[in-house]
């Protein structure tokens, strides 16, 4: 069964300079519990596609189904994590994590249990009572992941969540996310322009071409976990994907 089913999605934006086709007839199926990465150069429509999955944008044509249901609007079944820090600054870390469950009217004790477990998992128990501004960027993103997981979503949609982190923090965040995925077994759709990140994290890589965005190639990463960043097979894959992106285009296009 597929958790995310993108069925012939086309997205056209009306801009001042005319119509721009961001996505052109894109189809893909992400199996249940799978970790999928969408990579491509800036402007290939990968973030647009993720937003359509999340229900934040409506496709011009085609449709997306999550767990067999057509996506029409955003919902708690599809948690999203963004690149920018989106914690609510006026809420403490614990309140941020409990934001979703509170909206779903989960009783206080149950909420507390959820946030306790997640904060422990994220290694942030001692920061439960802190405000987001007291946390580093990497910690804030961990809270954002916890906040999305607190709703027990069917899928987790991540839009370059580690893009704003420094290289070392990003490496540890990636390892951390891998562990989270192995424990929770949620379907993850992860958008990044960092191919190294994609091959390290994902089981399937969807390589996209720039404007209009199309799926150029689907690459399986058959490397057992835990993976090492310096693994040669990952390096080979990275080079292969890179050449695919450049294929048929002037280098200046990317």
């Amino acid at each position: 069964m597929s958790a995310i089913d993108v069925d012939r999605v086309t997205m056209v934006f009306e801009t001042r300079r005319g119509r721009v086709t961001a996505l052109d007839d894109v189809s893909l199926e992400i199996p249940d519990g799978h970790f999928a990465c969408l990579v491509g150069p800036s402007g290939c429509g990968k973030s647009t596609l993720l937003r359509i999955m999340g229900g934040l944008l409506r496709a011009t044509q085609g449709m997306v189904r999550v767990g067999e249901r057509p996506v029409e609007r955003p919902g708690a079944d599809r948690g999203m994590v963004f690149q920018s820090y989106t914690l609510f600054p006026w809420l403490k870390v614990r309140e941020n994590v409990e934001f979703g469950p509170k909206l779903q009217r989960v009783p206080r004790a149950a909420r507390r249990k959820t946030s306790d477990a997640l904060l422990r998992e994220m290694g942030l128990e001692e920061f439960a009572g802190a405000y987001p501004k007291e946390l580093s960027g990497g910690m804030q993103q961990r809270v954002a992941i916890a906040r999305a997981l607190a709703n027990e979503p069917e899928v987790l949609l991540m839009d370059e969540p580690f893009g704003a982190l420094d290289a070392l923090t990003r490496a540890s965040a990636q390892r951390f996310l891998t562990q989270v995925w192995e424990r929770h077994k949620r379907t993850i759709a992860f958008v990044t322009h960092d191919i190294e990140e994609a091959v390290f994290l994902g089981e399937t890589i969807y390589v996209m071409s720039p404007r209009p965005g199309r799926i150029r190639e689907v690459v399986q990463v058959d490397v057992a976990r835990p993976r090492a960043l310096e693994d040669e097979r990952l390096g080979d894959l990275r080079r292969r994907i890179l050449s695919q992106i450049f294929e048929g285009e002037g280098a200046g296009a990317v």
């Binding site: 999340g54 934040l56 919902g75 708690a76 989106t86 600054p89 405000y131 954002a144």
Partner: protein
């Protein structure tokens, strides 16, 4: 006390700061002249007092030194005496209260309408399309130009002053507050939707709380405008109020009372400013930026 001595010689703050400068000698520029970097708290306080000291010193030099005639530029002591006189013998406190009362009423009315309207303009494109052009237009009409008209409508009592303040504060304040809510990051709203929030919940639980710090900050700025417009209105026509006292003093060439009145306005303004800053710290301990 420190301030008094610093004005006489100008040396006291200098020597007080000397040991700190001494220690930091190797990196003086690093420490005090790096763009946007904070400086030690003590240095900031010293510099702030020094700023006052320089102004007061210049004033003293020009007046005590006899550069200008006492009639045109009274000395600090004469002004202080005039200020005391105003309160002790002329019932100045009633004028101060009359002005403050007008400010408070005019400001509160502006805020009560401006905050919800501004947030609505910044949040909903439909409300924005309806209100913003009109408000942006009226905003460019100087509030002081309305005074003659408002005198015809309301006379020269409190209502007219409050109306002037309202016109001067409400329109720009509304637009600033609209800006605050319009600048709430969209990603913050998007995150809330994906956490299962409804439109209504996003508005009340995310957009509003995200706007409050900016709203308060702009109220503080609006308070400054309110004082400007009130004094203008009082200078044109009033039976009491600080502006009225200043105008009366001018008729009798009492420059010392004029300056005393101006300084009182400054002090009250400073007090309101301090109040707003304090409120900001108390209400928004989570805020990233400290109010400017």
């Amino acid at each position: 006390m420190t301030r008094a001595s610093s004005t006489r010689s100008g040396a006291d703050p200098g020597t007080a700061a000397a040991p700190a400068v001494e220690r930091a000698r190797p990196g003086f520029a690093d420490r005090y002249l790096t763009p946007k970097e904070p400086i030690p708290r003590r240095a900031a306080t010293t510099l702030g007092l020094l700023g006052f000291g320089v102004v007061l010193g210049l004033w003293s030099a020009l007046s005590y030194g006899g550069v200008y005639d006492e009639l045109f530029l009274p000395s600090p002591t004469t002004v202080a005496a005039a200020g005391y006189d105003l309160f002790a013998h002329y019932g100045f406190i009633h004028d101060v209260w009359a002005s403050t009362y007008r400010i408070l009423v005019g400001f509160v009315i502006s805020a009560l309408i401006g905050i919800p309207l501004g947030i609505a303009i910044g949040s909903f494109r439909s409300v924005q399309a309806f209100f913003e052009p009109v408000i942006a237009f009226v905003r460019y009409m100087p509030a002081s130009a309305f005074i003659p008209l408002l005198i015809i409508w309301f006379g020269i009592a409190d209502t007219e002053k409050i109306a002037v303040i309202f016109i001067g504060v409400f329109f720009p304040l509304t637009l600033l507050i609209a800006d605050v809510s319009a600048n709430v990051p969209r990603e913050l709203l998007h995150s809330s939707y994906t956490l299962g929030a409804s439109r209504r919940q996003v508005f009340f639980r995310v957009l509003l709380p995200a706007s409050w710090p900016g709203v308060l900050d702009n109220l503080r700025i609006g308070m400054g405008w309110a004082w400007t417009y009130l004094i203008v209105a009082e200078l044109v026509a009033a039976e009491r109020g600080i502006g009225h006292v200043i105008l009366q003093a001018s008729r009798f060439l009492q420059t010392d009372q004029i300056i005393a009145g101006i300084i009182i306005i400054g002090l009250i303004g400073l007090a309101f400013d301090a109040f707003f800053r304090w409120l900001y710290r108390v209400l928004f301990p989570y805020a990233e930026r400290v109010a400017r």
